[in-house]
Symmetry: C2
């Protein structure tokens, strides 16, 4: 509706956000690109809640919604842009709107999010950066609005909750996350099936790729380091790419007793994306900085140019140095 | 203390069990053989709670406790059998006492359990078969006793809760499971680290075995069936056996779109253990019955004699028949 080119962003309380949602009538709900369970689950939960109180709404996703979300991500109504209120859900910055960016940049009326990195691009913002998932915010918002929760709404909310926490595994989980999960169990959500679809289902292609990756796995430095490689050839042969490959880094950090799990993924003829997972006292962020990248203390990355063998050597050299510094520290301590 | 040879078992309420625990002074706490996170977590939580109110107690496990439980499974006091009250925790039948069976059969004074299959072998039984884990019962019991929960007690309880539910994934999870998890977050439990140790850590040997298993994986019946084989040779080469191999059946059911995931594990020269995981409308129990075994509708097993090729053929034949019957049913419906 209105541009937000002056950049002013009004931060709303939960109560103000609930009132805002009750006040308007036609909503366009946006998710972020490369949609995950939280942006979709939260967007659809909002859609069903608004429907429940007689509002017209639609969900727009910049990319095709993966089929595995079919159990809640149904076809929504059509809402004309002319008289619509635009809500971005779990979208931390306008660039994450992807293909929808051009159409909606500067035109988001309300953003509902949990990312501390939110760039405050929307006119109004409800941000709870203590929430493990935007689905947590959305649950509280729907409660605040006193809108009835249907089974499908509960399924969507549970999906957001479980996917953004790795099934209640990540450090973002709080008591509140579990309390909301408990509340959602009073609906017919079939959490077991949701978690199977989200976490324990792999395509034949991905299984084949994982086999290739394991066949080429390397153990270094007395098994303190586990190195996995995903070549362009493997990606081509199996057709696996993008977010499908995220699980490989999880495998790289699963070896018992390791300090560094490395995944090297080919992104071009002479370019590789390095993902590093470390355990204390190693600092993934510091190691990746030495490679021209960055990130967090336990998970970081860098883009490194060269042949596969050159890139491997570069990465292993800095990891070895970090391990040696640690050993030296232990000896002198 | 007392034999229970007459077989009478008194079922206690939560309150009665709490009073019973407050009344006695010296406790021997038994876990089941091949210990898992729930029997250990519940046993140690009870141990710490009893310590907290000045009771002497020890935990006895029929097998060596795996090192991964070191963060709560510490060395306990010595309690003489003569004047001790014997409590079995998460032990559904005396046979599960394994190496401790001979010493303690007929001598368990109290059993605390959640298995509906409990054989009521103890003099006194606190059974809550709605609980997802014995750790749920133990949490409620400690609350009922009004005993202070320490961080290490909370870690032990959380471990029982998360391991018996596959990290809140299985169908045994209820709202109560999540509410107790929420309560445990008020202590310093480092749930992320616990879940990493319990679910996302694999030995080098297991990674090598999984690689071999994937290299020999077979897809059948238009990828409706995924068949994994663990030969004696693979087990010998990697040194992986027993409970370490449980994850293979999980892989067998992870292929997208399958109806039957089969794991064939060699147990002798001419003997194989078949584990079957199915999705509706296939009935794993019915299929395994045809192979001389049994189980549940989604997970069942059978021991089948023959060469590997013979066993594969037998299993694939019954699975194919079940798939064909299903297809026929669809066509005529």
């Amino acid at each position: 509706m209105n541009d937000n080119k002056n950049g002013s962003c009004r931060e709303l309380t939960l109560r103000q956000t609930a009132l805002y949602l009750k006040k308007h009538n036609n909503y366009i709900i946006l998710t972020h690109a490369s949609p995950d369970g939280d942006t979709l689950g939260s967007a659809y939960a909002l859609y069903y809640a608004l429907n429940e109180i007689g509002k017209t709404a639609c969900v727009l996703c910049p990319d095709v919604i993966p089929k595995k979300y079919d159990y809640f991500a149904r076809k929504t109504d059509h809402v004309s842009f002319e008289n619509a209120t635009v809500i971005a859900v779990d979208v931390a910055s306008e660039s994450l709107l992807g293909a929808l960016r051009e159409e909606f940049a500067g035109k988001v009326n309300l953003c509902i999010d949990h990312h501390i990195s939110n760039t405050k691009y929307a006119q109004n913002l409800y941000l709870d950066d203590d929430a493990a998932a935007t689905a947590e915010c959305m649950y509280e918002l729907i409660e605040q609005m006193k809108v009835n929760i249907n089974d499908i709404t509960a399924k969507a909310l549970y999906t957001g909750l479980t996917t953004d926490t790795g099934c209640f595994k990540y450090s973002n989980v709080t008591a509140k996350t579990h309390i909301i999960a408990a509340e959602l169990y009073s609906y017919n959500i079939d959490a077991t099936e949701i978690n199977r679809l989200m976490f324990d289902t792999k395509s034949k292609n991905l299984i084949e790729l994982e086999k290739m990756v394991l066949e080429n796995a390397e153990y270094h430095f007395d098994d303190k380091c586990f190195l996995l490689t995903v070549t362009a050839d493997m990606q081509e042969k199996t057709g696996c790419s993008g977010t499908e490959l995220e699980g490989i880094a999880v495998i790289s950090r699963s070896l018992e007793g390791i300090k560094a799990g490395i995944t090297i993924k080919q992104t071009d003829d002479d370019e590789f994306k390095v993902s590093l997972r470390t355990y204390p006292p190693l600092d993934a962020s510091a190691i990746c900085k030495a490679l021209g990248g960055g990130g967090h203390v336990a998970a970081a990355g860098a883009t490194v140019k060269g042949t596969l063998e050159e890139v491997k050597k570069k990465v292993l050299d800095v990891v070895e140095k970090a391990l040696e510094e640690e050993n030296a520290g232990t000896v002198t301590a």
